[in-house]
């Protein structure tokens, strides 16, 4: 490669979930901010070990659900009571009861889109390129290896100290990843 490639971060490999969780606790306590843990499955307790807050996906889903319910009720009222009123079996033109089942389904529909869309938005996915995907060793992340990555952009980052810290945290293999 030419000399213009920038380093992206340090990649440290671990072999068990317990090891990477203890390493994450150390990195959290050292005060890093631009770092992440990569695992083949969600490791329970890792959010706390990384000092993360509760996910905000719920808000997206909630807003979706409220939108769905409101859309359903207003749509049915407008279509059957205002724009095209037609008497069916002497029933009222609009009743919240008969309008409820479709509105309920729309609540769930929009709430589900909110949950999936919110997840993708918060994770900035889809993302078709990521520096880590070029790393051969990182392919094991979906198999059975656990990785901790500290980005070079982190204000606390210094190549020597960070590598030393990760070695002390118990990583058996550490390498630099290019942008």
């Amino acid at each position: 490669m030419n000399g213009t490639t920038k380093p992206y971060g340090v990649l440290a490999e671990f072999t068990t979930p317990a090891d990477i969780m203890h390493a994450a606790e150390k990195i959290r306590d050292a005060g890093f901010s631009r770092w992440d843990v990569f695992t083949p499955f969600p490791v329970h307790g890792m959010d706390r070990a990384m000092g993360m807050k509760n996910s905000k996906v719920g808000w997206f889903s909630f807003i979706g659900g409220v939108t769905g319910y409101t859309t359903g009720m207003l749509m049915i009222w407008f279509l059957n009571a205002v724009n095209y009123p037609i008497v069916i079996g002497g029933k009222p033109m609009f009743s919240p009861f008969s309008a409820f089942p479709p509105s309920y389904e729309l609540t769930i529909l929009f709430g589900a889109f909110g949950a999936l869309g919110g997840m993708l938005f918060l994770n900035r996915l889809p993302r078709l390129h990521h520096p880590l995907h070029k790393n051969r060793r990182f392919l094991q992340v979906t198999h059975d290896k656990y990785f901790l990555v500290i980005e070079c952009d982190d204000p606390k980052y210094s190549e020597k100290e960070t590598v030393k810290l990760l070695q002390a945290a118990g990583s058996k293999h550490i390498e630099m990843v290019e942008e």
Binding site: P17, P40, P42, S98, P101, R127, H130, L139, T142, D144
Partner: protein, 487 residues
């Protein structure tokens, strides 16, 4: 002597039963992806082709039948006055009911923290989606003029202000079924994202890398992503739970909102939901029992999984049996002569054989699952699961045809017979279902890889197998009394 006395005072601690592991033989985390991806990457087994080719032929038959029906008219079906809902609606309800087990496994069992679901949920969700597709064909064609199907949806049009009317349960059904299909696909796809990333990272060819890479959306397994992912998954499970309960409830309202004896009853929503889950579990067992041995997945879909699914089938079958009994009781207790006649006609009328199949296969046969020997015998379980599906088909036959063929006025009575088009269309939907299911088996991971990995002891950072040091290890049974008492 003194030591013996003090020993007698100790309470007797029952021997601890060993928990049957969800993944047998202590398989490693890497083995799980190897074994499941082998289905997608290895050579296609001969049985796959032997099932795929007839499925595609049947799919072709479906195409011909639908083409014939569309170009000729609904009259090619056996639907005749007074039985205007025939095999089309029977098959619609039957297929959509089958779908319900997939959502029950993926959503309700997730909320109930049933970890065994991880072994079967992916295939069951695929079954849901394909079954709903088969179901959706029927009402879409039953309307007669397929090219007006878009009238079912509130789409602005140039026919003056003219809109669907939302006071009809049939309209609610449009929303319930289309939402059910969409949300099932979203839920299924979201579960697939991390597993598509597994296939992407293992892919050897450029095309596979590109396709799996595109659909895995650049998933890296980042914990910041997992955090949002797990929350979204929980919310989708929470939304799918009321959804699945509402879908078959609304399907049942198509019937129970009418005035017809046999349809006009308040027990329908819970009874339909239980029946749907019952038939769905039957189908899950029918599909997974052969698959687990043909793909060598016995360590992932263990006998424990089969055992639990048999128990769920038995429980829901018992609810259905209770509902059958309660219908008869209410017919007698309600004192409505039309209702009473209808239920006697079910058992002793011209369609007594349909009623007998329904009662036998749905109430008697699943009770065999009380015996562990039956639940452990895969051949018997497989046969029972098929009988359950047949029984549930006859349940819809009994509800629809028997209620319609003899209503209030004897001059209005009739006898329904299916035509060859009815039969071939139904066979054709099996072609659609199995074609899609076999393609799913080949191109997508049929077991949720990352979820199964997550329920192994090696994945638990507090378990010795997950790398926990002795002093901090707290296995599942931490805090039980045995430790203190033996001190």
């Amino acid at each position: 002597m003194a030591s013996q006395v003090s020993k007698q005072k100790l309470p007797v601690v029952p021997a601890e039963l060993e928990r049957i592991p969800l993944v047998r033989n202590g398989r490693s985390i890497g083995w799980i992806s190897d074994q499941i991806c082998n289905i997608n990457e290895g050579k296609l087994p001969i049985w796959w082709w032997a099932s795929f080719i007839p499925s595609v032929v049947l799919l072709g038959l479906l195409g011909v039948m639908l083409g014939y029906q569309i170009t000729t008219g609904v009259g090619v079906w056996g639907n005749q006055h007074p039985v205007m809902w025939g095999w089309d609606i029977i098959n619609f309800v039957w297929w959509i009911g089958i779908g319900h087990a997939g959502t029950l496994i993926s959503a309700i069992l997730f909320l109930l923290r049933q970890k065994w679901r991880t072994g079967v949920n992916r295939a069951a969700e695929a079954m849901t989606i394909f079954a709903v597709m088969c179901a959706g064909i029927y009402p879409a064609l039953h309307v007669g003029r397929v090219w007006y199907d878009w009238w079912l949806f509130p789409i602005p049009n140039s026919n003056g202000p003219i809109w669907p009317q939302f006071r009809s349960p049939l309209m609610w059904d449009v929303f319930a079924v289309s939402t059910y299909f969409t949300v099932s696909v979203l839920f299924w796809y979201m579960g697939l994202i991390p597993d598509l990333a597994v296939l992407r990272d293992r892919a050897k060819t450029k095309i596979k890398q590109f396709c799996y890479g595109l659909f895995s959306l650049g998933w890296t397994g980042s914990n910041r992503h997992w955090s949002n992912y797990e929350k979204a998954y929980l919310i989708l499970a929470g939304l799918s739970t009321p959804l699945v309960l509402s879908v078959h409830s609304i399907v049942s309202l198509d019937f129970s909102v009418s005035q017809l004896p046999g349809w006009h009853t308040t027990i329908f929503p819970p009874y339909f939901v239980a029946g749907a889950i019952f038939s769905g579990f039957g189908m899950v067992l029918t599909l997974l029992i052969p698959l687990r041995s043909m793909f060598k997945l016995e360590d992932l879909i263990t006998m424990r999984h089969i055992d639990i699914m048999c128990k769920v089938t038995m429980a829901t079958g018992s609810i259905v049996a209770y509902a059958y009994g309660m219908e008869f009781f209410i017919a007698w207790y309600g004192g409505n002569p039309s209702e009473q006649f209808h239920f006697l006609n079910r058992a002793f009328g011209p369609y007594w054989w349909g009623w007998a199949c329904m009662m036998g296969f749905n109430t008697v046969v699943p009770q065999l699952f009380w015996f562990k020997k039956v639940r452990q015998n895969l051949l018997i379980v497989f046969i029972i699961s098929i009988l359950v599906n047949i029984g549930m088909w006859f349940e819809r036959f009994v509800i629809i045809v028997l209620s319609l063929h003899r209503d209030f006025l004897p001059s209005n009575w009739g006898y329904f017979k299916p035509t060859w088009v009815d039969i071939c269309t139904f066979l054709g939907t099996f072609g659609l279902f199995f074609t899609l299911f076999l393609l799913f088996l080949r191109f997508l991971p049929m077991i949720a890889i990352s979820e199964v990995k997550g329920v192994t002891p090696q994945a638990d950072p507090h378990h010795p197998l997950g790398g926990a040091k002795h002093e901090e290890a707290e296995p599942d049974n931490a805090g039980d009394l045995t430790g203190d008492l033996t001190k």
